[in-house]
Amino acid sequence: MTGPELSVAGLGVNYGGVRAAHDIAFTVAPGEAVGIIGANGAGKTSTLKAIMGLAPRVVRTLRFGEHDLARMPAHQVVRAGIGYVPEGRHVFPGLTVDKNLLLGAYTRKWDAETKGSLEEVFTMFPVLGEMRHRLAGALSGGQQQMLAIGRALMSRPRLMVLDEPSMGLSPKLVGEILLALRRLNEEGLSILLVEQNAKLTFEVTSRCLVMENGEIAMTGTCAALRGDPTVRRVYLGV
């Protein structure tokens, strides 16, 4: 396979006159892990939502493999092979862990194979298996994050899109999430990771975009960005 898996060009997001993102362009190759970092309000989440069809957008090119996402209604995007982990988890709080995961496989038949995927998720996050009959709303923040990732995996995606998975988690849990993401990537899953936590992003991804005020301020390999003072200026203003 050659050519990018996900390619985005000329993507803009406007909420009621506010320009949240403008002229965003990047690609994710098959099996690659790409990060988008930047301070609060830089337009990272808006960019992801626009890709998923969940925010009002203008776009020149938005392709995923053979699919033209620009013409695809939001509920079809998962069928194209993109799993989405939204900012703030957004699990279904009043449903059990089991049900949350099964809903991740909404586009598949709920059969023995799906049950198999369920077991895979439980192997990856044993704590979810222990809590499978609990309501998702009763889980701790970290467990909910695992659940959100598990739910996205249930659709058997080729690309996983994650929005701030570290938000509100302790370093120990952030570490666990980090390991899980790395392993998934090693197994061949492409990853697009949006994070404020630059350190975490550098650990998981090989290449990063830095966003500032709705635009891409710079791009580079993680190794190059790690020591770059500009990244710090983008975050802290000095």
């Binding site: 939001a74 079809q76 957004h90 279904f92 449903l95 809903l103 586009t107």
Partner: protein, 289 residues
Amino acid sequence: MRAFLQTLIGGIGFGAVYALVAMGFSIVYRTMGLVNFAHGSVVMIGAYAASTFSMTVALPFPVAIVIAIVVTGLIGLVIERVLRPLEGRDFDLMLIGTIGFGTVLEALAILIWGATGHAVPSPVGSAPLDVFGVRVRAYSLVVIAVAAGATVLLALFLRRTKLGAAMQAVAMDPQAATAVGVHVGRSNAMAFAIGAGLAALAGGLIGPMLYVSPVMGGSLGIKGFAAAIFGGFGSIPGAIVGGMAFGILDSFAAGTFQGYSELVVFLVFTVAIMILPTGIFGERTVNRA
């Protein structure tokens, strides 16, 4: 004691119907944030449709109710489609819009069935049954059983089926539901149809208990809505508890205060809602931040 039990069972019979009405309100509200004031009129249409098909067309009563459910389900889809631009945005406008729909449905009912209304004979024998010395209307038991059955079916649908789970997911988080592949619009339309279907069932059941008339929807709808709010708007167990509470309150108020029962019921409701503004189980509303 005997009188008490008789009143109680009569109240539960009415309460079962109120619970069905309240569940209809709640399932629509929690899925799409639409407060349907026309729900009472949908109940009325259901009552007419069921009684017409069973009396005039001479279909068996259960079949007539099923047809009524289909008819009102379609009406529900129309209401939902017209008011969709207001969903989850402006509650006050939606409330007024559905009141407008209620007015239209009432006028249609008068055009079709006339203004006077008619009595509906009970599909089961009208002779009271004697249960451990308590005299009970057989039809009350039928109503309770059917309502309980419908509730169980609804619960099973929501709990056991993929579609039901998806509908609940939409209610809790429409955006996340979209991201896992659920078509939110289709799920909402289905919720609305189910709500209307519950209304028809309620209307069909209450026909033989009351006089079927174009204005019956007013009081039934308001009590069902109040029951839903009292139980916790959007919650299914809340709708059942609220409905039962209203039925029983109604029944005892009618025994104690005679003609003033409605006055008492609504005063009690007003006080209750001021003490517990979000009802017994708390409001379950859509997440549309």
